[in-house]
């Protein structure tokens, strides 16, 4: 039993150690530019947690990371590597924008779901190209998804600047779509939480997509652990050959997981555009797809682990702003730290896996050796 307790402790300690290691290296960098790392971290925490609107801002930053993390985790679970979440969410967000400003006069109950649906379809469509090329033609999905990212940003830029640019903005430096219809905007959580006694300020953009993200985490966790398909996914991941021999179609599992990943990726940008901006512009937040990879790794591709992992990165992202403004430390330090966390975490989990394997081996040896030793003792 004590071995099992130790395992649980180690499972918690591994990510903590990885984060600690990343913070240590980041401290070295902060020291090198002549600042005090302790001050910087204190600023980060104080900036983030002393005011309720700051907490709301962290949750707002966490929202897209939940979707991005889930999207990446689903593909990684099936051993297909969707590095294209970045591009999938650009096209998803743009498709939702088309619906949001293009249609008028729909009731909110139809307009918002339609926008979300458009985003999911567009994201899945962008994922379809690489997965179809992989399964049919053997093209490496890592490279094709990365290429699709470049193509996505070119296509979106073209549609934004040359086709759907708000005509009233021509002549100004602003490049954005017309404003969305109010019916397509997502309800904010502020008023609801205020009624519960939390003083969320008016300007907070915390919105319904946070709730949707949390619900999706739970739904997907159940889907993967309690259904026949979820079982097939696990079998495929553990031993593809054995799974195939047992009659599981590897291609089907990979296709479904990859397309679901793309659909989820399509929703990454929605919290920002439907909850905050109300239009799609050229400064649309970028890089969330790559952060999703960090989130998924931190969570070990576990849908329920996505939430704390996304919270951590949301906190880092928010903290980066505070650090830049109040401590004069470039926010890139935090980007470096995020990369270091990934590196440290995969090493930590790898060492943990090895430890567990060695432990099991030792237990098995003991189980075999135990009775054998007693036998020899009895015989002599």
């Amino acid at each position: 039993m004590s071995a099992r307790v130790r395992l649980v402790v180690l499972q918690v300690a591994a990510p903590a150690l990885a984060i600690g290691f990343a913070a240590l290296v980041a401290s070295g960098i902060i020291l090198a530019i002549g600042k005090n790392p302790i001050d910087v971290y204190v600023t980060m925490v104080r900036f983030s947690f002393t005011r309720i609107d700051s907490v709301a801002a962290i949750l707002f930053k966490t929202t897209p990371l939940i979707f991005a993390g889930l999207a990446v985790a689903l593909s990684f679970r099936a051993n297909v590597w969707n590095i294209g979440v970045e591009g999938q969410y650009y096209v998803g967000a743009f498709a939702a924008s088309l619906v949001a400003f293009g249609l008028r006069g729909l009731p909110a109950a139809a307009h918002l779901p339609l926008a979300v649906f458009a985003a999911v379809v567009a994201g899945a469509l962008w994922a379809f190209v690489p997965i179809a090329l992989k399964l049919r033609r053997g093209a490496h999905e890592v490279i094709t998804t990365i290429m699709m990212n470049y193509i996505a940003s070119a296509v979106v830029l073209y549609l934004l600047a040359d086709v759907y640019r708000d005509p009233t903005q021509v002549g100004t430096p602003r490049v954005r779509t017309p404003l969305f219809a109010d019916e397509a905007r997502v309800p904010l959580l502020g008023p609801l939480l205020n009624r519960l006694g939390l003083a969320i300020p008016e300007h907070s953009a915390l919105n319904g997509f946070l709730v949707l993200g949390l619900v999706l985490c739970v739904v997907i966790a159940v889907w993967l652990s309690r259904t026949r398909f979820g079982y097939e996914v696990r079998a495929t991941a553990l031993n593809p050959d054995a799974a195939e021999a047992a009659g599981i179609s590897l291609d089907r599992v990979r296709f479904v997981m990859f397309m679901t990943s793309g659909g989820l990726a399509g929703m990454v940008g929605l919290s920002d555009i439907l909850g905050f901006f109300g239009y799609f512009d050229i400064d649309f937040p970028k890089g969330l797809g790559f952060l999703g990879i960090s989130v998924a790794l931190l969570a070990r591709n576990n849908p329920l682990g996505i939430v704390p992992a996304a919270l951590l990165l949301g906190f880092l992202d928010r903290g980066a702003q505070g650090v830049q403004v109040f401590s004069g430390v470039p926010r890139e330090v935090i980007t470096i730290m995020q990369a270091l966390i990934i590196l440290a975490i995969v090493v930590a989990y790898e060492l943990l896996t090895r430890y567990v394997r060695a432990q099991r081996k030792r237990e098995a040896e003991r189980a075999v050796a135990g009775p054998a030793m007693r036998e020899t003792a009895g015989g002599s």
């Binding site: 093209a139 290429m147 073209y158 890139e332 990369a339 590196l343």
Partner: protein, 326 residues
């Protein structure tokens, strides 16, 4: 007919040659690392490190050499040379992280590479702020004095290809030939390939698998760093954020298209270099420029989808090797 002429114009071909070089150098690096059995998608980030350190060191050295009486010609060769060496050194150090992660710790090589790319973007911005006060670009620098081919340069029609040749171009071509020879004919090359095809067999024969895999990854780092240095010193005349534009990934595709051989990588890189040149030259067409700029990326997907079935990767490519387990 006009279109055809412009597609084959000498100026376009000259530009294609120049743009082939960074893809080719990185693809060559990718051949070494994958022949040794390590998948290295971090080559894009390694290139980024090369672009930054190449430009920064060239800038610093040329500043240091700027003494009144010094000869201009000598100075102009020393600074970019120092920059190229720094770019290669940065590439080696950066890929060392990948080697430690994927060979020593045996983690998922794809993930390590993705993390390196993220690290490179953050690091380049951070260092640039530190050195030059802004995040996205370095001051302008001067590269090598370009070469020209005597005899050919006098012919006006051929002038674009016969003049303005960076010394790195012949070096890159030499590296293709050397690479082919190393992998086919030398003890090092054969052992490197054995480690990528069947590490256990190699191990049984007494070959140190880790050491050869480290060598493959570090060589790839040096070459990708050099490619980055070429981009910022010779082509961009300064570092600019995002100047690699995914060429590290395209180089991986070139390596696959080239069937994991240096000579094949040369052919594939030339193809991608041509599309790259095309994307910079075609301006006045009915096709929106945004689509022209992604021509190399579209070509990459088409190539991977069209020919990859015939390509055979090293059998143990991307699979970590551990002595203890089978």
């Amino acid at each position: 007919m006009d279109l055809l002429v412009s597609l084959l114009s000498v100026a376009l071909l000259a530009s294609a040659v120049r743009l082939t070089v960074p893809i080719l150098l990185t693809a060559l690096g990718a051949v070494y690392t994958e022949r040794g059995g390590v998948f290295n998608i971090g080559l894009e980030g390694t290139m980024i490190m090369g672009t930054f350190f190449g430009a920064a060191v060239t800038h610093v050295v040329s500043r240091a050499l700027q003494t009144p009486g010094a000869e201009a010609a000598a100075e102009s060769a020393i600074a970019p040379l120092a920059g190229m060496l720094a770019a290669m050194g940065a590439g080696v150090l950066f890929s060392l992280i990948h080697a430690v992660m994927s060979v020593t710790f045996q983690v998922n090589q794809l993930i390590s590479g993705v993390a390196l790319n993220l690290l490179a973007t953050g690091l380049a911005r951070f260092l640039n702020i530190l050195f030059f006060g802004v995040a996205t670009q370095s001051p302008g620098i001067r590269g090598f004095t370009p070469w020209s081919i005597p005899g050919l340069r006098e012919i006006p029609a051929l002038a674009p290809v016969a003049t303005g040749i960076s010394p790195v171009i012949p070096v890159a071509l030499l590296l293709v030939v050397t690479g082919q020879w190393v992998l086919l004919r030398t003890v090092f090359g054969l052992r490197l390939r054995s480690v990528g095809e069947h590490p256990r067999a190699a191990d049984t024969l007494g070959i140190n698998v880790s050491r050869y895999r480290y060598a493959g990854v570090l060589i790839s780092g040096a070459l990708a760093g050099l490619a980055g240095g070429y981009l910022s010193i010779e082509q961009g005349r300064g570092y600019l954020e995002g100047m690699t534009q995914g060429r590290g990934f395209i180089a991986l595709a070139a390596m696959i298209f080239g069937n994991w051989w240096p000579v094949g990588a040369l052919g594939a890189s030339a193809l991608f270099g041509y599309f790259d040149a095309l994307s910079l030259r075609v301006v006045h067409t009915a096709i929106p420029y945004q689509f022209i700029t992604v021509l190399p990326h579209i070509a990459t997907i088409l190539v991977l989808a069209g020919v990859v079935r015939r390509a055979v990767p090293p059998a143990a490519d991307g699979i970590p090797y551990s002595k203890e387990e089978g």
